[in-house]
Amino acid sequence: METAELKVDCSTLDSKGAKTIHLPLTEDAARSLHAGDRVFINGLIVTGRDKLHNYLFNERPPKKRIPFHLEGSIIYHCGPIVKKTANRYQLIASGPTTSMRLEMYEPRIIAEYGVRGIMGKGGMGEQTLHALRENGCVYLHTIGGAAVYLADRVQKVLDVWKLDEFGMTEAMWLFDVKDFPAIVTMDSHGRSLHDELQENSYRELKKLVRMK
């Protein structure tokens, strides 16, 4: 049986084999990351999913109208559960959502807003892979469904944009994260582990269909 095991030299996401990265990332730093690298992310990231991507893509607000610095940051495909207490936002759960839904929007957003990372789950397609290469950006895969584990890697919910308009799930949240774990699965050198895995599974599929 042929499986596309992605070899790495550590047994858990907390191990020493991972690279620690601090945001904002420079273009060189983003280009120094390769598919297969495990990373711990530190610094400020923003969330954004369907409505936010649709808005940035269609309305094209200039950078100065967005209250957070997207340049060098990471857009996290995530619609969190946030509880508002008297004077702060308490993060309950914040795992990734399926990134592929945002495929048609992402290339232009990467190019226009200068983000250096896109994080989510399940990988993205050809257009995004191309945009990663053109602009110096990476796709980071984190753990789908591990929502409380990942929420506990967010030190603080600092702010939110478009909460009234888009609602809790679809708003842009600003998170300060510490040692937030992810794996680079698409890099700026044209490599996508998702594509490689799909090619392997296609070969298996053909074999399985031949034998009745």
């Binding site: 969190p80 309950i92 929502a147 609602g167 799930t169 774990p181």
Partner: protein, 285 residues
Amino acid sequence: MTDLRNAIVELYRTAASSLPSDVDASLRHARGKEEKGSNASAALAAILENIRIARETGRPLCQDTGVPVFFVKIPCGVSHLAVKSSIVKATRIASRTIPLRPNAVDVLTERNSGDNTGNGFPVIYCEETKGSSIAIDLMLKGAGSENIGQLYKLPMEEIGAERNLEGVRRCVLDAIYKAQGKGCPPYIIAVGIGASKDQVTRLSKEQLLRKIEDVNSHQTLSAFEKRLLRDVNRLGIGPLGFGGKTTALGVKVGVNHRHPASYFVDVSVSCWANRRAQLIWKLQS
């Protein structure tokens, strides 16, 4: 019905924060099979840790608390409308107190109702039972895995599927191949076969209520389920799509009679977080 309503709020809490023990055990087993040091093994370690934290803190184990789907069995003489009303009220309370993520969006205005209630939301299926208790099964169906489900109308030339179990096998392989890691594997895969589109989608959902270790009472289907599980795991997609041995934890198949001209196959998929819980509500006599 206030007591029943409160019990349904607790049912929501259990389903959202406490993964069923059979799924938990199956994930532990899967981790043992993955190569040490692999991303698949690391991802499963994070998942197991997540399950533990959620159970201990009562927080929802996934931020997508999904579409609540209720399968309710109601004894003769008890009002279905009253039970449904209790479910809707409980949904509003649970959304606020657990909390659940508000997921009910008006298609025309794009407004989120804020409390997980709306037209056909939550999904509630009621049927009469001969028993003397109300039995409520709740499934919190995440959208990532719901989106990778597929409905097939056989025969289907593109995937070489004729109207037989071999054709059904090809449907399942096609659906999971197309899904890759997008719906949070390891998956629990459910199949419904029958005469009409609406019926097979419900039938497949019902299969997701079966425990992982549950063996189909029909011998042919039991063997078929085992075969499908073995085949799907050969695709090598692995936990979270990182590659590896466990793409699915289980495959469950349900069949109804079909029309001579129709052969519908629905493939419903659950993510690893197959959140289901049951409430048996004894009626006072």
